[in-house]
Amino acid sequence: MNAPTAAPHATRPAGNEDMASTVRAFEAYGDGDWDDIAREAIGEERIVVNMGPQHPSTHGVLRLMLEIDGETVTEARAGIGYLHTGIEKNMEFRTWTQGTTFCTRMDYVAPLFQEAAYCLAVEKLLGITDDVPARASVIRVLMMELNRIASHLVCLGTGGNEMGATTVMTVGFTAREEILRLFEAVTGLRMNHAYIRPGGVAVDTPEGFTTQARAALKNVRHYLKQLSDLMLANPIFKARLTDVGVLNLSGCMALAITGPVLRSTGLPYDVRKDNPYCGYETYDFDVPTSKGADCYDRAVLRIEECYQSLRIVEQAMERLDLTEGEPVMVADKKIAWPAQLAVGGDGQGNSLEHIKKIMGTSMEALIHHFKLVTEGFRVPVGQAWQTVEHPRGELGVHVVSDGGTRPYRAHFRDPSFNNLQGVSVMCEGGQVADVVVAVASLDPVLGGVDR
């Protein structure tokens, strides 16, 4: 056995010296320029760099195929599908109510929006849009706006982290934690809630929720102030983001890019104003816009939208206090979940009163419970389309029913999926480092993109 003449190499088996001699090596010296070295190494060949699907700056498993010339990106393509889990197909094999459990897992950073859009679409098909109790709509609005803040905080935090600003990330996630605690108090979970159900919401807010929420939101406001102080006037932050990833109004319209990216071009398009749902027309809030159409403006807009969401949340909490004790689910017992769930002494959500009734006193109630929970309710034949304003743009849901207890087809138009089409336009001609910034300003969540 020959003694190892060279240290084992990570990519080359030790002792195989023939191979080492055939591999061309290039050494970079301090007095050379990378352009010269690259030219010597590859001549006129193109360099195609695969960024992802495991790259930390791609927010999950986005694969970016970049053709680069030195530091300049000459062509950028996005490859997706690495997180496709067939949620839409799976929903066709579950009841209409179970569908919320599935669609909440699509865009896991903003789960309540999928639930809300899906339930609104199912309610359209059922023809009960006007029968959903006011308190249920208020809770939906409240939860969606809290979720919008949480989602924007993740966007700003991870976006800052990708540029090396760890403090931005820690502040963003600390603030998000406050909101996740509120979610946990209401739904029992920090994500994957399945809280909004066709006809209303699963359970009323717990006692003392608005007091807890007001205290938490005071902290959120404080952290938001910290974030804007850290970011918006910071010269490095401005230098990295200003005039980067520009996409103008006609580009956005051609690629159907909505949300903060569209509003950063000056068009105040917001589904909450344009085609209101859940009673958004009765809330007082503004749609912030700007003119720069670049990454910096999108960051400013997201912070501004957080403040607007706080405005809506405060109005919603006032309404919650006024509607204390009102129903949160449609009165129709053929649709409403029979149990009135509450968190018991063991910390589990359960309904002991209801169990006592169906097991002890009413055979009919037991049959009804069993039928509704295992079989589900029937939804009239037809199709419906519902869009909501998701933190990343317009989220659309297309549901088709064949009159059965399961969706015949449920399709989600995820805003991240659509918006990723803009990566090429935003990155080509820019620097490689700007790709990270541009993708962060689109804020894609791959769970929603791939579904």
């Binding site: 599908g81 085609n275 209101p276 037809g382 087809r409």
Partner: protein
């Protein structure tokens, strides 16, 4: 009747629900049998012989209500000017009220079924005319109706007008044997990925698309997973001594 395969006697069913003279024809997309999803066991309830034709909402009569009439009229006019016969291009117009009293309600929806050869002309008219201005395309979704003879594959386009705050839906059908629909990317570039997705999941070929490749499934995948004849898959799972069957083999109550 008990040994007939599903969809096998569609004609019989279609004859059974023959609409009265002058009424709109129903589009039967599915025929269901039984009630509880149980087959092979002795049927003592009589529900096993139940045959239910599933028909999508029929064409709506005029007036449609709200802005729907105006949009359909303007679209017909613009199509006529472009040399396309509106009667051939617009197959039917459906208004879904979704429980509302009138079409003015927020939840009312307009669907225009378009003949596939005129789809691009319709999209062009809807986008460009100043009274229509559906400038935002919110994507394409596919639906597979295996029992809708000769029109098995449907592509559904969701359009929005920011100018007029309106939304409408275009529906285009293609048979399984000839799954071709013209691509709308020349009018709505944003439909690029959405058409790739619909091709990937349903096998609808969008003619004229710049790069119609799979987008979610691996490039070498066989089959189109969202079609109704494509199985969900899954394995039985053991839980506390009992075996839970995969979801597609569990009892369905439809």
């Amino acid at each position: 009747m008990s040994d007939v395969t599903p969809g096998g006697d569609q004609k019989v069913v279609a004859d059974a629900v023959q609409p009265p003279e002058g009424a709109a024809t129903l589009e039967i997309v599915e025929v269901k049998r039984g009630m509880f999803g149980a087959t092979g066991s002795g049927d003592t309830s009589g529900y096993g012989g139940l045959v239910t034709p599933i028909a999508m909402p029929a064409a709506s009569p005029r007036p449609y209500g709200s802005w729907f009439d105006q949009v359909v009229d303007v679209l017909s006019e613009v199509l006529g000017e472009a040399g396309v016969s509106p009667e051939q291009a617009i197959e039917k117009v459906v208004v879904d009220l979704h429980g509302a009293q009138s079409a003015d309600a927020q939840q009312a929806e307009l669907t225009i079924n378009v003949a596939r050869e005129h789809l691009v002309a319709v999209c062009q008219a809807l986008r460009d005319d100043q009274d229509l201005r559906f400038e935002l395309s919110l994507g394409v979704s596919g639906v597979h109706y295996p029992h809708d003879g000769g029109r098995e594959l449907h592509a559904v386009y969701h359009l929005a007008s920011i100018t007029h705050s309106r939304r409408l839906r275009l529906e285009v059908a293609a048979p399984d044997e000839d799954p071709h629909i013209p691509s709308t990317t020349s009018v709505y570039p944003s439909n690029d990925w959405h058409e790739r997705e619909t091709y990937d999941f349903f096998g609808i070929v969008f003619d004229g698309h710049p790069a119609l490749t799979r987008i979610e499934m691996p490039d070498d995948w066989v089959g189109h997973p969202q079609r109704k004849d494509y199985p969900l898959g899954g394995i039985p799972v053991e839980y506390k001594g009992a075996t839970v069957p995969p979801p597609d083999t569990r009892r369905s109550y439809s």
